[in-house]
Every structure is written in structure tokens, then in C-alpha cells.
């Protein structure tokens, strides 16, 4: 056996079991596991924070209200207004909690003890994406009518007439079926991959610097620790970006329901 094989003989890389949790307790026949507890915790944090910030608003904001206003304005100006324009204020009661629910859920990945990104279980982003998809339908049918929505979504203007024969089925599938799917998968896959990477490097560090310390493995272990720190910093960035993209696309899909795509 060559040297690397001997070195890594007992090393076991983390796998899918990272994402499989045994139930912590049962409510009736309903099993509650860690990701669900975390998502409830995230909900409490988001509601609690905005409650503290805006329950008794002052004209001149102080303390936590300042922070709350910064958060609100950030979502309004960066994610709402580019697509929703003058309709933004109305939709912020959906977009602001959406952004913070996704972001803090992602942030759970690097918070000690929690250490699990809620959105790396696809059910969570899927529920949010379905919520936005249904909103798109309701708003779309209301503003454009059922057939208006179908026509505006599948028949882009300014195309040669013959092309519509091939465009319509493709656009239909991509707008009504692929869109909600990619919306959820984009968030899920990023959180899933990030969590696996951090876990892998952390396991390398732990294995070679603690469990099986050898002169040859020492460098590998140090590299694992350094990469764990670097990847954690990178993940912090990705978590915020993915929450931003998720909310931005939500605003865009809602705006596609409000107005025809022209």
C-alpha cells in the first residue's frame, strides 16, 4: 500500500448521515427532529426581533428599532423595489420575514450546538418555493386572468409567428414547472454542499490532529483546520447571498404575476 492509503486507513469521510436525524421526541405520532426544532427557533428569533423592533415604534428610532429599520430598508431597496416598484410596501410583509427566515436558517450552520443549516433539508426551501409559486398564481390570475397569465407567461412578444409553435411548450414547462423547482433546489444544494464541505475539513482536522496523530498526518490535519476556518468564512458569505437570491427571485416571480413580462 502506498503512503496516503496507510495514512488515511481509518479515516471515514462524512456522508449523507450528516443530514439524517433521529427524532428527538414525538407529538402524538408526529416525530420531531433537530432541523424542525431549529426552524421553529429561527421563526421565534425572526418574530421576536421584529416584535422588539416595531411593537412600539417611535418617530425617532432608538436601539433595536434602528436595527429593525436598517433590515427593513435593506430588503425594501435591494430586493423589493428593483422589481415591484410602487407595489413594494405591500409585499414587504412577505419578503422581509422570508429573507430573514432563510438567512438565519442558513446561519444555523455555523452557530455552535445548532450547527446545521435548516435549508439543507429540501423540504424547507420547497415549502417556501411552493408558497411563492402559489402567490404567483393567485396574483397572476387576479391581475391578468387565467388565460392572460398563460398567454403572457408562455408567449414572449416580438417573435416571428412560426416560432411560437416551438416556443410555447418550452416556455410553459420552464415557467410553470422548472421555475419553482430551481428556486428551491438552488438554495437547498448550496446549503447541502457547504455543510458537507465544512464537515469534511473539520473531520480531517479532528482525525489527524486528535484521533490518529502521526508525523506524516500532521500537515494534513493542519490543512484541514485551516480549510475549515476558510470554508466557514466563505459559507457565511454564501448563506447571505443565497438568502438574497431567494428573496430577489421571490420578488421577481411575484412581479411576473402582477405585470405581463414585456
Amino acid at each position: 500500500m502506498s503512503a496516503p492509503h496507510v495514512l488515511a486507513k481509518d479515516f471515514e469521510a462524512p456522508g449523507l448521515w450528516l443530514f439524517q436525524w433521529k427524532p428527538l421526541f414525538h407529538i402524538g405520532s408526529f416525530a420531531v427532529a433537530k432541523p424542525m426544532v431549529l426552524s421553529l427557533l429561527v421563526m421565534v428569533i425572526v418574530v421576536g426581533f421584529f416584535w422588539a423592533a416595531f411593537a412600539k415604534p417611535k418617530l425617532v428610532p432608538r436601539g433595536v428599532q434602528n436595527l429593525g429599520e436598517v433590515a427593513y430598508i435593506f430588503v425594501r431597496d435591494e430586493m423589493g423595489r428593483p422589481f415591484l416598484g410602487k407595489d413594494t410596501e405591500k409585499w414587504l410583509r412577505l419578503l422581509v420575514p422570508l429573507f430573514f427566515f432563510v438567512w438565519i436558517g442558513n446561519l444555523m450552520s455555523v452557530i455552535p450546538v445548532a450547527q446545521f443549516p435548516v435549508n439543507s433539508r429540501i423540504a424547507f426551501p420547497m415549502v417556501l418555493a411552493v408558497l411563492i409559486y402559489l402567490t404567483f398564481w393567485v396574483v397572476g390570475v387576479k391581475n391578468q386572468g387565467f388565460f392572460g397569465l398563460l398567454k403572457n407567461s408562455t408567449m414572449p412578444p416580438d417573435l416571428p409567428a412560426a416560432l411560437y409553435l416551438i416556443v410555447v411548450p418550452i416556455e410553459f414547462v420552464s415557467v410553470f414547472f422548472i421555475r419553482p423547482f430551481t428556486h428551491a433546489v438552488r438554495l437547498f444544494a448550496n446549503m447541502f454542499a457547504g455543510h458537507i464541505l465544512i464537515a469534511l475539513f473539520a473531520t480531517v482536522g479532528f482525525h489527524f490532529l486528535w484521533e490518529k496523530v502521526t508525523p506524516q498526518g500532521f500537515g494534513v490535519g493542519v490543512l484541514g483546520v485551516v480549510l475549515t476556518i476558510a470554508m466557514t468564512a466563505f459559507e457565511l458569505f454564501i448563506q447571505a447571498v443565497q438568502a438574497y437570491v431567494f428573496t430577489l427571485l421571490a420578488a421577481f416571480y411575484i412581479s411576473a404575476g402582477l405585470h405581463a413580462d414585456h
Partner: protein, 72 residues
């Protein structure tokens, strides 16, 4: 997005987002629709070659579509 120092309008933002998010979805959609049709025909006519032909046909059509809509 426009680069001339002017704030882009909502319509321009929507068009930009639609272009960048719809182009990949169109490619996948094309392969799904025509690949799917090819697969069904392949099963029906017992001609397995129709599935890859449908896939490639859908890919080419969707590629042309992206060009026709966004490339000009």
C-alpha cells in the same frame, strides 16, 4: 445594469432578471419537452434512437430560442 449612471427602471430590471433566469430554464425546458416527446415516440415505435434525437433537437431549438430572444 445600464452603466450610464442612470437608475434602471423596474421594467428594465424585470427584463434583465427574466433574461438571466429564463435562459437556462429555456434550455432545460427544451430538452425536457422534446426529449420527453422523443422518449415517448421511442417507446411507441420501438426506435430507441428517437430519444437522443429528441434531446438534441430540443437543445438546438432552445439554443436558437435563447439567441432569438436575448442574443439580438
Amino acid at each position: 445594469m445600464t452603466g450610464n449612471g442612470r437608475q434602471p427602471s423596474e421594467a428594465e430590471n424585470r427584463k434583465f432578471a427574466n433574461d438571466v433566469s429564463a435562459a437556462p430554464a429555456t434550455i432545460v425546458g427544451g430538452m425536457l419537452v422534446y426529449g420527453g416527446a422523443g422518449w415517448l415516440l421511442a417507446r411507441w415505435l420501438h426506435l430507441s434512437a428517437l430519444f437522443p434525437i429528441g434531446l438534441v433537437f430540443g437543445l438546438v431549438l432552445a439554443g436558437y430560442l435563447v439567441y432569438a430572444r436575448y442574443g439580438r
